[in-house]
Symmetry: C2
Subunit: 239 residues, 2 copies
DNA sequence: CAGTGGTCTAGACCACCTT
DNA sequence: AGGTGGTCTAGACCACTGC
């Protein structure tokens, strides 16, 4: 195997080469990579160059290193990274993942807004999934999730959807979410959602609009979540 | 100069040594560091080890490299990093920093809650600053900012406070904010804030509680911001 | 024990900036 | 031309893992 001759630094070429393998699914989550020495020999570069490329991927959460064992493709579903994209927690600080219950699943043509957010053709088929999430038997979030059928074939025909959809995406659809983009607003709760959240009409809720980005850069999921933030807050740490 | 003999990796010791210089103010924002070669000679390590330490600091936004010129202490006030901790923008995507107007400045003893958030002694003196921020002459945010006087001596006696407080902190008080921790909730607007935001009582607003962390790890500012999210949203990208 | 990643070094050459 | 950071290499030794 040799690298294509660009004017990119070698380590960047190695990075692109390895990332492409991830995108194509040739390397699967939790799978071990060849050792740095082996990769260096295969690609005709030094171990230090391979190391620099893998360091970059580790910093992007694509890979994990385990000293003495090897380098592995990140398992996004692991306990350690389960909270990576879930930012709600109780005000005292404890992270709890709420249960979820499906309200409805519908297959339909996308709206113009959805087509724009998800870069879809007009009238392309999507699945609209609505769920209510509960914590200690109290509802805290109602969400509407839009999934293009071109990305998730027949996802609406699966028996039971897991609490963590990203795990499902990774295992059944070869979709690895590596980034989410969110916009937050405070709104009064929509009337058809108030009862699910067991709050009065007119109450303030947090609206989180989220675009989920696959490892190949495509936005593959679009969602709206209405959240009751009485005993549940959205927390962000930024450095 | 030689390093203290711990069981830390060399590059980590170099990192700690350089970061301590930043904390003590021996290196000031925009100041150039000695060259990697010079640092390596001074500390009796190789250039590669110095490079690894500085790389770490660059990844934490403490330093900036400019090829051919040198390595510099980050100027947090620069255009490029001005938006680092400011997450509001218009829904179409453009970043605008709103103007701000001071409502009140008071010096008083801290409350119990403030003492807890800011790790203060009971009854320690603080300054409470209230500002309203406007965009295109329309109010969008009302904020209450708590500043311990032990950290910011006589800050309430300054002539005019700039729009960007962090710039002031850096230039006048040797405080460099490197991290913020925020909690977000949707609430109905407090009655005394509704008029500042020019909205009806009972409207939903976004409450952002923020702790600002200095380079030495201390939380040096605590604030609450009530935001009208009609034409202004809070946006987050997470990878 | 062998194999892996983690650290550290020394030296080479390149790309960029200033003078 | 001389100095800076950026890339790349080759080789050494250490720390951790599993057999």
């Amino acid at each position: 195997m040799s690298l294509s001759p660009n004017f990119q630094p070698l380590y960047k070429q190695v990075y692109d080469y390895m990332t492409a393998k991830l995108v194509r699914g040739e390397l699967k989550p939790s799978e071990a990579l060849p050792s740095e020495q082996a990769l260096a020999a295969e690609l005709n570069v030094s171990q230090g160059t391979v190391r620099k490329a893998l360091d970059l991927m580790v910093s992007e959460n694509l890979l994990e290193r385990r000293q003495g064992k090897g380098t592995f493709v990140s398992e996004f579903t692991q306990e350690s990274s389960l909270f990576r994209f879930f930012h709600f927690r109780e005000p005292n600080g404890s992270h709890l993942i709420p249960d979820s219950k499906i309200i409805s699943i519908k297959r339909r043509a996308c709206t113009k807004a959805e087509a724009k957010h998800l870069s879809l053709q007009a009238k392309e088929k999507i699945v609209e999934l609505r769920r209510v999430r509960t914590l200690k038997n109290k509802p805290v979030i109602v969400e509407k999730i839009i999934q293009p059928l071109s990305v998730f074939p027949d996802i609406d025909k699966m028996d039971d959807l897991p609490n963590s959809l990203y795990t499902l995406y990774q295992e059944k659809f070869a979709i690895s979410i590596v980034e989410v983009r969110e916009e937050l607003r405070a709104v009064t709760v929509p009337s058809d959602y108030a009862s699910y959240l067991e709050i009065d009409a007119g109450a303030a809720v947090l609206l989180v609009e989220r675009a989920s980005v696959n490892i190949d850069g495509r936005i593959v999921e679009w969602s709206e979540a209405f959240c009751k933030t009485e005993d549940f807050v959205y927390s962000v740490n930024l450095r």
